[in-house]
């Protein structure tokens, strides 16, 4: 156990990613799907930061990727919630099984 804690952090982010994936596969409510996406994005952020800190400590590229991912996730969540509110107005439901007009 003398190595850097990188591998343990990678285990953690793997677990977080697949917990988010389990949520994506089981849930059928749009808001909970959005929450699962946030978990997945967070596990990616942890990976970027950990690789940056433990493998390339002389650069800062991973931190910048994390900052931009957080920014874009905020924009994405805002647009998704606007769409959810509009969807609720027209369908009285935000269940993905009931909103299937665009399904081929």
């Amino acid at each position: 156990m003398s190595q850097s804690p990188l591998i343990q952090i990678l285990f953690l982010s793997t677990g977080l990613f697949f917990i988010g994936m389990y949520g994506m596969l089981t849930r059928r409510n749009v808001i909970t799907l959005l929450m699962s996406i946030e978990l997945i994005l967070n596990s990616v952020n942890i990976n970027f930061v950990a690789f940056n800190k433990y493998l390339y400590p002389e650069k800062l590229e991973g931190l910048f990727f994390t900052i931009f991912i957080i920014t874009i996730a905020a924009a994405e969540a805002a647009v998704a919630i606007a769409i959810i509110i509009n969807l609720y107005r027209s369908h009285q439901s935000i269940d993905v099984d009931e909103v299937n007009e665009l399904k081929w």
Partner: protein
């Protein structure tokens, strides 16, 4: 096993348990609160890695912004206390199998990969270093993505208003 490792294991357990509760809780509001705790745990993990700026951004944007947005949208679209229907057992089992298979594959690959760790140099993640590189126009600077992010945020702001605007309010206002 020193104190830093113990803190890491506690944080990791906290993150994973709260994340799992966030994707399995039956009531949507509880699920959101578990997500809030999980995001807090990730922020404290960034503190543990000695990256205060990222931890602050995580706390402000995720915990203070996105979770509040999600709570607002829950209040606008749900009765706060009714439980969501349970997913069918078959779907739960298949999803769990797929996730476990993915975890096993990735953990196997990560465990057997040899990472070439550099001779220990400490990462220089001061706020002023990050800030200067973020707005620098030299090679390795991030001023163009920075400006593009501002345009993206403006576009999503306008887009949210347009999408969520009630149809026909303009006519009502003009009649008034």
């Amino acid at each position: 096993m020193d104190i830093s490792q113990i803190i890491f294991y506690c944080t990791a357990t906290f993150i994973l348990v709260t994340a799992f509760l966030a994707v399995t809780a039956a009531k949507i509001f509880r699920s959101t609160i578990w997500l809030l705790f999980s995001l807090f745990g990730i922020a404290s993990l960034y503190y543990w890695m000695d990256l205060q700026f990222i931890a602050a951004v995580q706390t402000v944007v995720y915990v203070g912004g996105i979770v509040v947005l999600i709570i607002f949208s829950i209040f606008l679209t749900h009765k706060a206390n009714d439980a969501m229907p349970k997913p069918p057992l078959m779907r739960q089992v298949l999803a769990a199998l797929a996730s476990l298979f993915g975890i096993a594959l990735v953990l196997y690959l990560v465990y057997h990969h040899v990472f070439i760790t550099p001779p220990t140099t400490v990462i220089n993640a001061n706020i002023d270093t990050i800030g200067f590189q973020l707005i620098s126009t030299e090679k390795g600077g991030y001023s163009l993505p920075f400006e593009l992010a501002s345009v993206l945020l403006l576009a999503s702001l306008i887009g949210c208003i347009v999408i969520a605007m009630r149809q026909g309010t303009a006519q009502v206002n003009s009649v008034d």
